[in-house]
């Protein structure tokens, strides 16, 4: 194949912009919200303890900080809601793709023949909602590893099985 063919070939190549994405489990939105709330609560408690024990902060300074934390939490909750729709994954015959983000969007694809191994992880909070995370390890450090959180247990297992079968078929 000559290079000058590239432009013609490229139009017939499978296009990432055309693939259909599968959403994450809706329950995962709850997990993310609860995480935000817990983090804010921890911050609020910490600053309150600091304020009432040390008496360094003025009352109005303390209230500003509280308002700041609450404001950030609300923005975070709203953004989580908006961007949640944009978190999705897609399995093709030869690769797996994950996209995320609303203001800063990213799409990541890892071909199956570059995956070293897969792993299922389960956070404490996710376990309550029976959600799991599938992690795909590639060569060359953690930056290129792909991780998909917020999958229903059976989906996570199916994806892992599907990818593992593919990996094994490449290793032969």
């Amino acid at each position: 194949m000559d290079f000058s063919n590239k432009t013609t070939t490229i139009e017939t190549l499978p296009r990432i912009e055309d693939i259909k994405f599968n959403p994450l489990a809706n329950k995962y939105l709850h997990v993310m919200r609860i995480k935000t709330i817990i983090t804010s609560l921890i911050l609020l408690t910490a600053i309150s303890i600091f304020h009432f024990s040390q008496e360094i902060l003025e009352l109005n300074e303390y209230l500003y900080i509280i308002a700041g934390i609450l404001g950030l939490a609300i923005i975070n909750l709203l953004y989580t809601k908006i961007s949640f729709k944009h978190r999705a994954y897609s399995l093709r015959e030869r690769d797996i793709t994950y996209k995320r983000g609303y203001i800063f969007r990213s799409i990541t694809t890892v071909p199956f023949n570059r995956i070293q191994h897969t792993e299922i992880k389960e956070g404490a909070l996710s376990r309550i909602f029976s959600l799991q995370t599938v992690k795909f390890y590639t060569a060359g450090g953690a930056t290129s590893d792909l991780q998909i959180s917020g999958l229903n247990k059976e989906d996570a297992n199916n994806i892992k099985e599907f990818v593992n079968t593919k990996i094994e078929s490449y290793e032969k």
Binding site: F104, R114, A139, G140
Partner: protein, 496 residues
């Protein structure tokens, strides 16, 4: 190792005991050196504790010795069922194993203690995300070389007879040297490289001084009262400039010495599998670079290197460690023609293919310029009115603007059927070439603002590094994305 089989556990040679002992001492030394320094300088104050201190040192030595004996006794390695296995530890026993076909690099190193005792250290690395490294701290040189061959040949030792290894290793000795650097050549390279950096700094400072004196002279005539204050100002400025000058000269000298030490007696030779690089004075290092395992190849020049017609080659192999220095092999002072031959041998058809050239959009550099040049220029004069600082700011702006413009001119992405070349740099120029099929993963990044303008970022993940391609047209980004995936997935070629 000649008569012993590797399939049963092997101990380190007895020199290993000494190496483990010295490593333990070194660790202690690193932990307590501030106290030692204090003691040496203020020994009179601690006279009363003299015995305590000697007992302490004695205890450290004794503990280190016991540790060394136990560690030595429980340390063994073997090759079994296609895996390289190292057992270590006496309290917490640890068994590390690496399948031979997952081994990416085998390094032979020698620090100063190992050089004195006459042993080498062998390090094995794989390319998984989970950190996996094995290290044998002391081996006799010829055994290390044998083991290196066995490990890199990916074969179970039990399947191959010992004699073949003997032949193989003698065969390896006959490899032909591509080039080597004498100490004077090396010094020239190091000095020319650093003088360039230093020269630029010196230039900007001289400019700063010139500006400053101009102002002082003007001010003196304009206002006699400010005179005293100005002299005081000048004195401190001169002092600062002098200190900075000394610092620059000193750091250049140190850097030159460092480069000479690291690259001392550099020798690049060709072996049956690829290349072999040996270098270093206090820390000797020998690396075998099999052609098939090379992930990216970079050649760098700068105006001074161009006069000498030399380039620095940086080769990266897959590594579980993403720390730059660990997996990068630097070969400085390579003649341009030699460099080209090496590149042709590694990627044999890379020079004959046709390349499509693309650029990062000027907007990206304009944005950087706005942030690091324009913004400070607007803000700083509000807070400082000193002419010196403003003169410095102007110098800074000129230097940065020129660098950014050069960076914009140089940044290019060329894509052919099988390769990708990323060119960048400001004063120096580096070109990184990688075979497209060796890419591990790819990411497309875009903010909603970029989407409106039809721009996007691409990030390419190879087994050795992350390569960013910022601010290209959305269409180019998507086309490249799809093409890269097509190249990886079309054939299941071995990438390591």
């Amino acid at each position: 190792m000649k008569n012993k089989s590797l399939s049963s556990p092997n101990k380190l040679p007895i020199e290993g005991l000494a190496i483990i002992f010295f490593k333990a001492i070194y660790k202690w030394g690193r932990a307590i050196w501030p106290f030692i320094v204090i003691y040496i300088f203020k020994s009179s104050q601690y006279q009363a504790y003299k015995t305590h201190i000697y007992i302490g040192i004695g205890l450290i030595l004794l503990l280190s010795l016991i540790h060394a004996i136990l560690a030595y006794k429980h340390f063994n390695f073997q090759i079994k069922d296609g895996e390289f296995i190292v057992n270590s530890g006496y309290i917490n026993k640890e068994k590390k194993s690496i399948p031979l076909d997952r081994i990416q690099t085998v390094n032979i190193k020698q620090n100063i203690v190992q050089q004195i005792i006459g042993v080498v250290q062998l390090e094995v690395d794989t390319a998984g995300s989970k950190k996996k490294e094995l290290s044998l701290p002391a081996l006799r040189k010829e055994h290390a070389k044998e083991l290196e061959n066995i490990l890199l040949s990916k074969k179970d030792e039990t399947l191959v007879e010992d004699e073949t290894f003997q032949e193989k290793s003698t065969d390896k000795e006959k490899n032909n040297t591509l080039f080597s650097l004498s100490i004077s050549e090396l010094a020239k390279i190091a000095i020319s490289d650093n003088i360039f950096k230093g020269g630029l700094l010196a230039l900007s400072f001289t400019y700063g001084i010139y500006q400053q004196y101009n102002e002082i002279i003007n001010e003196r005539f304009a206002n006699e009262i400010d005179n005293i204050q100005n002299t005081a100002n000048t004195a401190s400025w001169q002092l600062i400039l002098f200190a900075v000058g000394v610092f620059i000269v000193f750091s250049i000298i140190l850097s030159v010495i460092r480069i000479i030490l690291i690259n001392f007696e550099l020798k690049l030779s060709q072996t049956s599998q690829g290349y072999k690089l040996e270098k270093g004075l206090f820390n000797k290092r020998s690396v075998i670079i099999p052609l098939s395992k090379i992930q990216t190849y970079t050649w760098t020049t700068n105006p001074i290197r161009k006069i000498f017609n030399i380039a620095t080659i940086t080769i990266k192999q897959a590594s579980s460690d993403n720390v730059e220095e660990r997996n990068a092999v630097h070969i400085p002072g390579c003649q341009a023609s030699t460099e080209e031959n090496i590149r042709k041998e590694i990627f044999n058809d890379s020079s004959t293919q046709e390349y499509d050239s693309h650029k990062t959009q000027a907007y990206y550099f304009m944005r950087s310029w706005a942030i690091i040049v324009l913004l400070p220029t607007i803000i700083i004069p509000f807070f400082v009115s000193s002419y010196n600082i403003i003169a410095g700011l102007i110098t800074w702006n000129i230097v940065i603007s020129v660098m950014l413009y050069m960076g914009f001119k140089k940044r290019k992405y060329r894509i052919s059927k099988d390769y990708m070349i990323i060119q960048k740099g400001s004063i120096s120029t580096s070109n990184k070439i990688l075979p497209i099929f060796k890419i591990q993963a790819i990411r497309f990044k875009q903010s909603i603002f970029m989407k409106r303008k039809g721009r996007a970022n691409l990030v390419i993940y190879t087994a050795s590094e992350r390569i960013a391609i910022p601010f290209v047209s959305e269409q180019f980004a998507l086309e490249t994305y799809n093409y890269i995936l097509y190249k990886i997935e079309k054939k299941n070629l071995i990438w390591m």
